[in-house]
């Protein structure tokens, strides 16, 4: 480690080479790159799992797998996509861009940063190892409860549940460490003159995300630990026979689980206005309103959790409270939508790939938000609960709202990070393929849900066959299109047209004042903001 500490004060990028560079690095750009690479790999792993599911659902009846394996794929797909693809992607951007955007030389706690990343690969192995062990006849595979771990099913499951519990512990520690690092960086490392209310919105989104993470991840860790002791050490937290209550697990889980949605989305809401600003060539509209909306959503996020289990038998006053508070979130969210649209209004817009993804994102995420309002209605939810309508809804928020937003960020910052322009034509092709096949995959699922098809079931009634077939074919197009994304990134890393420092004509902010790619150690002398 001494070499890197020395390098820290050195003008030259003198760091260990080969694998040791990545194992021991404390450089925010290296760690950001590792987070993003890890996220992309796990995105493909989680994606191939769901293609297995869609292949099985191509036709009614059981063709490819037994129901137990089907359930395992569904649960691990969700855990991987949430914890190992979306969250690391956002953390990767935070590592890369926050120091550059606030004029800091590095993250505040660089060694913690390194540790935070290297906890991720072991937890990914813990999540997927039971599949491989099952191939050799050891155990009965990964957790088959869905990502929510509901008891009593999770108390009865095989050791896949234990593997997933320990993976969640590691992932939780990783994101808590990452969050502490980001909060300290944002509080202590800003360039002179950059007040909190002058920070870029991406930094603001992440500040609230980080507070939500350190407040809620420990509750999830606590809940799954109780599950573990229920399974192996004779406690009865969730076992009615011993005076426990399975519904309590749902409360604990969703106390974390609902803020988690905003943890995944707030970083994206942070950089979306920056992209809009760049390609509309106009300043961000309503900066203050957006910051306050972030706070309002962050605060509301922790008091609405029970809308995930309206049908569990809550008393009517509780149902009403959770319904109204959930719907209240749409108010600050509407402010955000208004600001995004107003930023584009009468701007001289151009539609490079990041902007295409952003505009597509606003529309699709809007659909995700509006269908959420339908689900927030207690009376309607009784019909939609646990149907494919819910699946379609949260893929509009998390695939469109999360991953397509992240893709906009990738195209926006890739030239800055690599120093090369990506292939614009292929980028646009990737957008259209993704946007069309995404809608073709999930619009049929809204109809399936309205017609009563339950989620997490490997077989279905004949009347659902056509919509499932459309959905499955589109899902494969969607999945294969992402190989184009990987190809675009790899070719961009390896070469291409040289990117200018500002990269985009309308780009503003400290990160665009550095060279592309930025030097290994940037802002050794902090810039002064006036």
């Amino acid at each position: 480690m001494s070499t890197t500490t020395v390098a820290h004060h050195d003008e030259h990028a003198d760091h260990p080479t080969g694998i040791m560079r990545w194992l021991t690095t404390t450089n925010h750009k290296d760690i950001g790159t590792m987070y993003l690479t890890f996220s992309l790999i796990m995105f493909l792993v989680g994606g191939s799992m769901i293609l297995g599911i869609r292949a099985e659902l191509f036709q009614p009846g059981l063709q490819l797998m037994n129901p137990d394996f089907f359930n395992q794929l569904i649960g691990v797909h969700a855990l991987i996509m949430i914890f190992a693809a979306l969250m690391p992607a956002a953390t990767g951007f935070a590592n890369w861009m926050i120091p550059l955007q606030i004029g800091a030389p590095d993250m505040a706690l660089p060694r913690l940063n390194n540790w935070g990343f290297w906890l991720l690969p072991p937890s990914a192995i813990l999540l997927t190892l039971p599949f491989i062990l099952a191939l050799f006849g050891i155990g009965d595979g990964a957790l088959a409860t869905g990502w929510t771990f509901y008891p009593p099913l999770s108390i009865q499951g095989g050791f896949g549940v234990d593997f997933a519990i320990f993976a969640v512990h590691l992932l939780g520690i990783s994101s808590v460490l990452g969050s502490i690092n980001i909060i300290v960086t944002l509080y202590n490392m800003r360039a002179p003159g950059m007040t909190l209310m002058k920070m870029p919105l991406f930094a603001w989104g992440w500040l609230i995300t980080a507070f939500l993470l350190i407040a809620t991840i420990p509750v999830l860790a606590g809940a799954v630990t109780m599950l573990l002791t229920d399974r192996h050490f004779g406690t009865h937290f969730f076992d009615a026979a011993g005076g426990g209550d399975p519904v309590m697990f749902q409360h604990l889980f969703w106390f974390f689980g609902h803020p988690e949605v905003y943890i995944l989305l707030l970083p994206v809401w942070g950089f979306i206005p920056q992209i809009l600003q760049t390609f509309s060539r106009k300043p961000v509209y309503g900066y203050k309103a957006q910051v306050y909306s972030f706070w309002a959503i962050g605060a509301l996020a922790v008091v609405v959790w029970a809308h995930h289990f309206f049908t569990a038998g809550l008393p009517v006053p509780a149902l009403l409270y959770f319904m109204y508070s959930t719907m209240a979130i749409s108010l600050p969210l509407a402010v955000l939508f208004f600001c995004w649209i107003k930023t584009m209004w009468k701007g001289s817009m151009s539609f490079e790939t990041p902007m295409l993804f952003t505009v597509g994102w606003i529309i699709l995420f809007g659909i995700g938000g509006l269908t959420g309002l339908v689900l927030a209605d207690v009376a309607a939810d009784a019909q939609y609960h646990n149907s494919y309508f819910v699946v379609a809804h949260f893929h509009y928020t998390l695939f469109a709202g999360g991953i397509m937003g992240i893709m906009a960020g990738v195209y926006y910052w890739l030239p800055k990070m690599t120093g090369h322009m990506y292939n614009e034509k292929l980028g646009k092709t990737h957008f259209w393929l993704t946007a069309i096949s995404f809608n073709m995959t999930f619009i049929p699922q809204f109809f399936l849900g309205l017609a009563g098809m339950p989620r997490r079931i490997p077989d279905y009634a004949l009347q659902f066959a056509e919509f499932n077939m459309i959905s499955s074919i589109s899902a494969f197009v969607l999945g294969l299109s992402q190989l184009l994304f990987v190809y675009i990134i790899i070719t961009c890393v390896r070469g291409g047209k040289k990117a200018t420092d500002q990269v985009w004509e309308g780009a503003e902010g400290l990160e665009w004042t550095l060279s592309s790619p930025p030097p290994y150690h940037s802002f050794a002398e902090q810039p002064v903001i006036k």
């Binding site: 505040a108 706690l109 913690l112 808590v176 502490i180 690092n181 909060i183 300290v184 509080y187 202590n188 490392m189 800003r190 002179p192 507070f211 350190i214 407040a215 809620t216 991840i217 420990p218 509750v219 860790a221 606590g222 809940a223 109780m226 004779g234 937290f237 009615a240 026979a241 011993g242 005076g243 209550d245 519904v247 309590m248 409360h251 604990l252 106390f255 038998g313 809550l314 008393p315 009517v316 509780a318």
Partner: protein, 188 residues
């Protein structure tokens, strides 16, 4: 945050590192706080459910009769259901499936339990009232569910429940269901 250069002669860089560490440890208190909160939720949840009757939980101790006035102007129907959970080798059912009564009137109903195994078996009954809002108005004076019950091999036992429905019962509730789930209470 501004770094003051004159403190202790340490370089601004070292001071910043110290400040970073300090804030990092402060944030760990939030983490510790939310771990404590998640553990505290377990008893809190129980207390909240018992106090408000949410989730159909009823008191596990006897109620004191405070008011013997009987409201003869209303009728309430109480239905009884029973379940034996896996792991308990008993038959268990109420002797009557429902009862019609006036709020405030004390009633006794009997449940019959039979041990169908060849061992001494202990069980614990867990009550639940539906709808949940009615559960705090359901007052048990004497109940076999207050203590562990033990049955000899093949023994049949009549288990009494003395209760009344409080006269404060909201006027829109005219029917309620009392469900007992009998769990094995043997130490495994």
């Amino acid at each position: 945050m501004e770094i003051k250069a004159e403190d202790n002669g340490a370089s601004p860089d070292q001071q910043r590192k110290l400040a970073n560490k300090k804030l990092g440890f402060k944030l760990l208190w939030i983490v510790a706080g939310s771990i404590a909160f998640s553990i505290a939720l377990v008893p809190l949840y129980d207390v909240l459910c018992t106090l408000t009757g949410l989730n159909g939980k009823t008191k596990t101790t006897a109620s004191v009769i405070s008011n013997t006035k009987v409201d003869e102007s209303r009728w309430v129907t109480v239905q009884f259901t029973s379940n034996v959970m896996p792991g308990l080798g008993w038959n268990f059912h109420p002797k009557q499936s429902s009862i019609r009564l006036h709020p405030g009137k004390i009633q006794t109903v009997l449940f019959e339990a039979k041990n169908i195994t060849s061992q001494v078996v202990a069980g614990q009954a867990v009550p639940s009232v539906s709808p949940g809002v009615a559960s705090i108005y359901f007052k048990k004076i004497e109940c076999f569910c207050f203590v562990r019950q033990e049955l000899q091999p093949g023994e049949t036992k009549l288990m009494p429940l003395r209760f009344f429905v409080s006269t404060d019962l909201p006027s829109d509730v005219s029917e309620m269901t009392l469900s007992y789930a009998f769990f094995s209470a043997d130490k495994q």
